[in-house]
Amino acid sequence: MYKVILIAILFFIQKGFINAQQNKMVQIQEGSFVPLYGSTDKKPVVVKTFFIDIYPITNDDFLIFLKKNPGFSKSKIKGIFADKSYLSYWESDFDFGNINPKTPVTSISWFAAKKYCECQGKRLPTIDEWEYVAMADEKKIDARSKTEFNKYILSWYEKSKTYENSIGKTFKNHWGVYDMHGLVWEWTADYNSIFLSGESRKDKSEDKNLFCGGASVNATDLMNYAAFMRYAFRSSLKAQYSTRNLGFRCASTTRK
């Protein structure tokens, strides 16, 4: 019996290891949390078990994708899928120039990020999934109330050009995921759902949450400035937008 368990453990460790090597994903266990926005009556939302990339997508990764999908290169991408700043720092369609290949790819539109993940058989994480993973520090699943954790996140807003840093240099969180904070912003599948659906329930107008007092009306934690900034950032975006500090990573419901 003991042996069987041992073998089973070894088997899973190995399988996990191989998967991590190939797909760089880790499993996130089901759980629930109260997000800053988006939960009805401030009740916890349940996040089902899913898988997420350990690292954001790098310039190197994206170049491989573009070579297979040239329709998403700088010059070929359709105007409705990306604005003029799409991959603006790349030298040409298949050349990101002298920058470190292990830096996160940024200046990517939502459409391009979505397509990339689909080509891997994956998808973009939802806001709730992303926030659920992002609330973990090195030790705790939910470190949102830790002062130091919040300070760390906030300090990133004051550092310029962090997109020049390689992936994997920030801390490894409880789930084994890197770079949720401290590197670049990341796209989510439903990045604009909060302010649209959240407000349409009430008075059919958009964006109201975002301004002055309005921002605090539906928020669950007024001290969570770090999260405020993420929600504000997301709601300033449109799917064809791309900015130098915005990258992405993929998620999946099943193991890939």
Partner: protein, 477 residues
């Protein structure tokens, strides 16, 4: 229109202002319907400068191009801070309009920026003061337009969540809506805006200082400054005017938290547009400027000298940076201010506080003390007499009071240091590479006390351990 011009010629400017303010209600409806003629690019200026007055121009379509930049800057010597700015300065670019103008606002968020921003202009009549229409992602531009229909001086600021943090990092400025025909002309106009800043280190702690959210929520700033940094209006950046000129200050308060008791030491405001609106108060010493509010003050400078701008919540001025200088040059006017006419000794009859006459000091006994004793007594003297300016660890206050800790000026010449305590010191000196131009008054201390406090200072904070004796002090008295 014609009628008003005739009035303007005949009446004094003050009367015109009263008329304007009295007839304000009627004007507002008119201005909202006033047709604009022509189009122009708005001149934008960094503080302390303001754009040219509108004068007699008609209402126009005014294009404003404002770029948002998140950038590192200097809070005070050795202290860096990441400012978020409208137009690259704190406060942001000054916008000057006239009532009836139609402003086409182009808000651009620099691609290197990390955050979305927007702008809420208090001069706008509409939802969010423009904020609802102007949320702009990094690398993008938003355009919206509004008509300015109420004359006055207004604050603008970023209103993106978390609003307090955007304001605390410097995202505010002023927009002026001049009345028809413009404000009365003056000789000098300047732009001054107060703000409070919250850093993780205490005042003066070196290096890049991150924003401290907890201090901001508790409303305990480390810095309260004019125009975004300590020394923005001192040490070579003084505002200037000549005797006889009339100076107008457009004063704003970005907050995020504190209310300013704005005062110019040695001046009385001839006119204050209270809260930036149409009401004019006269002969005002200190005017209250709310967070997210403004005031227009003007005054004629009659005498030369340095006039100090302060928030008269006075510890903010001397310990947190809310201090600026208006330097007025020209001929003295002894009728208005005489200067010191006579210096004398005042001996109240029967009073208990008596100064030791200078000649008597020779008769006092000079106690022999060990160095340890001197340091112990000297420390007590320092902590009652010296620390308010030179600070508890002798670190001084940048731009105001020179440091005593590891001070090259102090260590170079102990006789000079003793004389400074005995006789005071006025004028520019250089300490550890920084220039100071301030006044230290002579201190009413005995030879023994001076010897003790000097010994304490020389044996503290990395100084050269000189031991000063009462005899040394006496010989220099």
């Amino acid at each position: 229109m014609k009628k008003k011009h005739i009035i303007k010629i005949k009446a004094s400017l003050f009367v015109l202002f009263l008329l304007l303010s009295v007839s304000c209600k009627k004007e507002i409806t008119n201005y909202s319907e006033l047709k604009t003629e022509g189009e122009m690019q708005a001149e934008l200026t960094s503080p302390p400068l303001v754009p040219k007055p509108v004068g007699n121009r008609t209402a126009m379509k005014l294009k404003v191009n404002m770029e948002i930049k998140e950038q590192e800057g200097t809070m005070t010597d050795g202290v860096r801070y990441t400012y978020w700015t409208f137009g690259g300065s704190v406060p942001g670019s000054f916008i000057r309009t006239r009532v009836g103008d139609e402003v086409e606002f182009h808000l651009k968020n620099h691609p290197e920026n990390k955050l979305p921003h927007n702008i809420d202009l208090h001069a706008v009549t509409g939802p969010g003061g423009g904020a609802t229409s102007s949320l702009v992602a990094p690398g993008h531009e938003k355009v919206f337009s509004f008509k300015v229909i109420n004359p006055g001086l207004y604050v603008y600021h970023c209103a993106t969540a978390p609003v307090g943090m955007h304001i605390a990092n410097g995202m505010y400025g002023l927009i002026l809506v001049e009345p028809e025909g413009g404000l009365p002309s003056v000789d000098k106009e300047y732009y001054v805006m107060q703000g409070d800043f919250y850093t993780q280190g205490e005042y003066g702690a070196k290096g890049l200082q991150p924003f401290d959210m907890n201090k901001a929520v508790k409303e305990t700033p480390d810095y309260v400054v004019f125009n975004g940094k300590v020394g923005s209006l001192t040490n070579g950046n003084e505002l200037t005017a000549k005797v006889g000129e009339t100076v107008r200050l457009f004063v704003g308060n970005g907050g995020p938290n504190l209310v300013s008791s704005f005062h110019v030491i040695g001046e009385i405001f001839d006119n204050v547009h209270v809260e930036g609106g149409a009401l004019i108060n006269k002969n005002v010493q200190t005017t209250l400027i709310p967070a997210g509010g403004a005031a227009i003050v003007d005054f004629k400078v009659e005498t030369p000298g340095n006039f100090i701008l302060v928030d008269h919540s006075i510890f903010r001025a001397f310990n947190k940076g809310a201090l600026g200088i208006l330097k007025v040059e020209g001929a003295e006017n002894k009728n208005i201010y005489s200067g010191t006419i006579q210096e004398g000794i005042y001996l109240p009859e029967g009073g208990t506080i008596q100064n030791m006459p200078v000649t008597e000091s020779s008769k006092t006994i000079m106690p022999k003390r060990t160095v340890a004793e001197k340091i112990k007594i000297g420390k007590e003297i320092f902590e009652t007499t010296c620390f308010a300016c030179h600070q508890s660890q002798g670190q001084g206050i940048p731009n105001s009071f020179p440091p005593l800790a590891k001070s090259d000026y102090l260590n170079a010449d102990s006789k000079r240091a003793i004389k400074t305590i005995l006789h005071g010191l006025t004028g520019e000196i250089t300490v550890n590479g920084q220039k100071f131009n301030n006044i230290m008054p002579s201190q009413n201390l005995s030879d023994d006390e001076i010897a003790n406090v000097m010994t304490y200072i020389y044996n503290s904070w990395g100084n050269n351990k000189t031991v000063v004796t009462p005899e040394m002090v006496k010989s220099l008295r």
